[in-house]
């Protein structure tokens, strides 16, 4: 019995791989620019905010050029927002599969997340080029924190994504709610502005938003070569809690998906 369980698990791991590959292949099929879109999307946003916050309203980002300052945050933010959107729609978008074939349903959101991870890696590649262009010191020892920050972000996204994907099966409003929520969340996180603009007395409160801690940690590591501040621990705990609750909730209602979808 144990042996069969392991076999099953191995097959589901292969399905996760296959489904991730399918999403990536399908995304860039019949597209001229293909993987370049992974860069264009956060790049264009960072560029747009650069124009606004350097020409119209001046934002102080120290000795870091604003473009680099916002790009290094926009890339993980795009990964977060994009993966959440894909995960929340994952069951409903694959209705044909969910109502006809059994497999652990969490494979769909997980594959959505993994496929976005590729975009994230590509966009991070451009960051390296930008940093070279702006003569920023690269490859500090602090980069060993990157996998930790990334893991925390993935846990957070997966937790929310699992809850959202399940709820979206029952209530299609969730998709719209998510789009709205992500817009507000962007402004509640230090993506286009530095944390220094947040009043001191609100800081502790501000970092209850785990994305604030995550984004600030990326900046600390990538721009300044520093270790993340302790608020990353808070973000990590919140992310872990979210993932546990999300997975528990998802597995609890999963069996109803094919009935209500």
């Amino acid at each position: 019995m144990q042996g069969r369980m392991n076999l099953q698990r191995g097959i589901y791991f292969e399905l996760l791989q296959a489904w991730t590959r399918r999403i990536i292949q399908a995304r860039y099929q019949q597209s001229l620019l293909g993987g370049l879109w992974a860069i264009i999307q956060p790049g264009a946003q960072a560029l747009m905010f650069s124009i606004v916050f350097t020409q119209a309203i001046r934002v102080d980002t120290g000795n870091i050029p604003y473009l680099l300052f916002s790009y290094v945050a926009m890339v993980p933010w795009s990964f977060f927002a994009g993966s959440l959107t894909d995960m929340v729609g994952s069951q409903v978008d694959n209705l044909n599969l969910v109502t006809k074939i059994y497999f652990p349903r969490e494979i769909l959101p997980m594959a959505g997340l993994l496929a976005r991870l590729l975009d994230f890696a590509i966009a991070m590649g451009l960051f390296v080029l930008l940093a070279l262009f702006f003569h920023l010191p690269l490859f500090s020892l602090a980069w060993i924190y990157l996998p930790v920050i990334l893991t925390i972000q993935v846990m957070l996204a997966l937790g929310i994504g699992l809850i959202g994907a399940a709820l979206n099966v029952f209530y299609r409003d969730i998709k719209h709610l998510l789009a709205l929520g992500l817009q507000l969340w962007l402004y509640a996180s230090p993506v286009i502005y530095p944390v220094s603009v947040v009043p001191e007395r609100l800081r502790a409160f501000y970092f209850l938003n785990p994305m604030a801690g995550i984004i600030e940690s990326y900046r600390a590591v990538l721009l300044n070569g520093n270790a993340p501040e302790p608020y990353l621990i808070l973000a990590g705990l919140i992310a872990l809690g979210t993932l546990l609750v999300g997975y528990w909730f998802f597995k609890r209602v999963e069996f109803q998906f094919a009935d209500v979808i």
Binding site: W19, R21, Q25, Y102, F103, R172, D259
Partner: protein, 408 residues
């Protein structure tokens, strides 16, 4: 031996009404809770299947056939009942479910294989077999959206049939393929059964059920009304449909046309007889003798140019002969309500020794539905003097000629 599938009193209930409530209605229902209405899609179905068994599930639309498959494949959970499946199963509820339109045939084979539970190594090992079975060789690297529906279906079945499952669940899927491909699918199912796969086969097609299955389960409005051999089940189903049509005297919901076996009962088959040359009713006939199969029918409504058809088959369901007045180029007149008629099919009984059965039906001019259909309307025996075996007497004449020895 342990059965591969054990289903005990499986039932599935669905809530009637909105499929998925919006947030607003969910919130408002807190204020005024409404009693829920339920519908039993499947009620109290029990069976056991052993290795090599093939069970056909037949019944009209909405009888719960697909719901049973979905329960068996773990897609939905039964409301009550116990289900045990021992061994790897592969469910084919729709051909090519999980195919991605933009991906090529090759990519979809790997994707679909993974969805059906095969590892990449297993798929690789069977890749050539799958491609060969589907017959899509030169289109392997074309996106499947450019495939014809036949190619699409062939590829779908090919992947699912090569999972090598211990339990294979097949929904009404072979209707799309051409004749040659259907034969290939049946052969593959036979092969899997011979290797010990238990098969569940849902179909509207009696012929297919008799061809593929040894057992039959008849579903009607969610309830199992008959379990037995496949041929008996087909007869039981046909009888149930007739009774229900007679009781309601109105059309059953018709969706997919003739293949749905829906009867409107605007015309009714009253009598089917086998007559000898003298016009006497007989139940056994000499091989080669002239005979008439006479069908008497009455009409309950005005019916325009109905088509009468005649099937002869062996008791195990093999089709021997199938014809219709349309194919025989016999024009049929319009009939008005309360009229009666008799149709004679005259034949020189060319069959060999054995037992045969006759099915007859009356269909509308466009073949869109049946007026009435009678399975195993009549059984008869053929007696022959010839010692040849088989179905048809080809009247072979044997001659022997001496030839000169080879090489001088």
């Amino acid at each position: 031996m342990m059965p591969l599938i054990q289903a005990r009193a499986i039932s599935k209930r669905y809530k009637i009404g909105q499929n998925f409530p919006t947030l607003r209605s969910a919130l408002s229902s807190f204020r005024k809770p409404q009693p829920d209405k339920y519908h039993w899609a499947v009620k109290d179905v029990s069976f056991e299947l052993h290795a090599g068994d093939a069970m056909g599930i037949i019944g009209p639309n909405g009888a719960g056939k697909t719901t049973i498959l979905k329960i068996l494949s773990h897609v939905v959970r039964p409301t009550h009942g116990d289900l045990k499946i021992n061994g790897r199963f592969s469910a084919l509820i729709e051909l090519g479910a999980g195919f991605h339109q933009d991906l090529t045939g090759r990519e979809n084979i790997f994707l679909n294989g993974a969805i059906l539970g095969m590892s990449r190594a297993e798929i690789k090992a069977r890749f050539d077999q799958i491609v060969d079975f589907a017959g899509i060789g030169e289109y392997l690297d074309t996106p499947v959206k450019r495939y014809s529906s036949g190619m699409y279906a062939r590829l779908g079945f090919a992947v699912a049939a090569h999972v090598d499952p211990q339990v294979l669940l097949v929904d009404e899927v072979l209707a799309v393929g051409d004749y040659a491909f259907q034969m290939k699918c049946y052969a593959r199912m036979d092969q899997l059964r011979a290797r010990g796969t238990a098969l569940i086969f849902v179909s509207h097609n009696f012929e297919a059920v008799r061809r593929v299955c040894n057992r039959g389960l008849v579903m009607y409005r969610g309830e199992p009304i008959y379990q037995g051999s496949a041929s008996e089940a087909v007869v039981a189903y046909s009888t149930a449909i007739r009774q229900s049509a007679r009781a309601q005297h109105s059309a059953l919901p018709t969706e997919d046309g003739l293949s749905q076996q829906v009867m409107t009962f605007d015309a009714e088959i009253q009598n089917v007889k086998l007559l000898d040359a003298a016009g006497q009713t007989i139940s056994a006939i000499q091989s080669g003798a002239p005979a008439i199969i006479a069908i008497e029918a009455c009409f309950h409504k005005n019916v325009s140019q109905p088509v009468f058809s005649l099937n002869i088959r062996t008791p195990d369901g093999r089709l021997v002969y199938d014809t219709t007045t349309r194919w025989l180029d016999v024009p049929t007149p319009d009939f008005t309500a309360h009229e009666r008629c008799r149709v004679d099919f005259a034949i020189q009984m060319p069959l060999l020794d054995g037992e045969y059965q006759i099915d007859v039906d009356i269909a509308d001019a466009g073949f869109s539905h049946y007026y009435d259909r009678l399975e195993s309307a009549l059984g008869f025996w053929v007696k022959g003097d010839t010692r040849a075996k088989g179905l048809v007497d080809l009247n072979a004449q044997a001659t022997i000629t001496r030839l000169a020895p080879e090489g001088k």
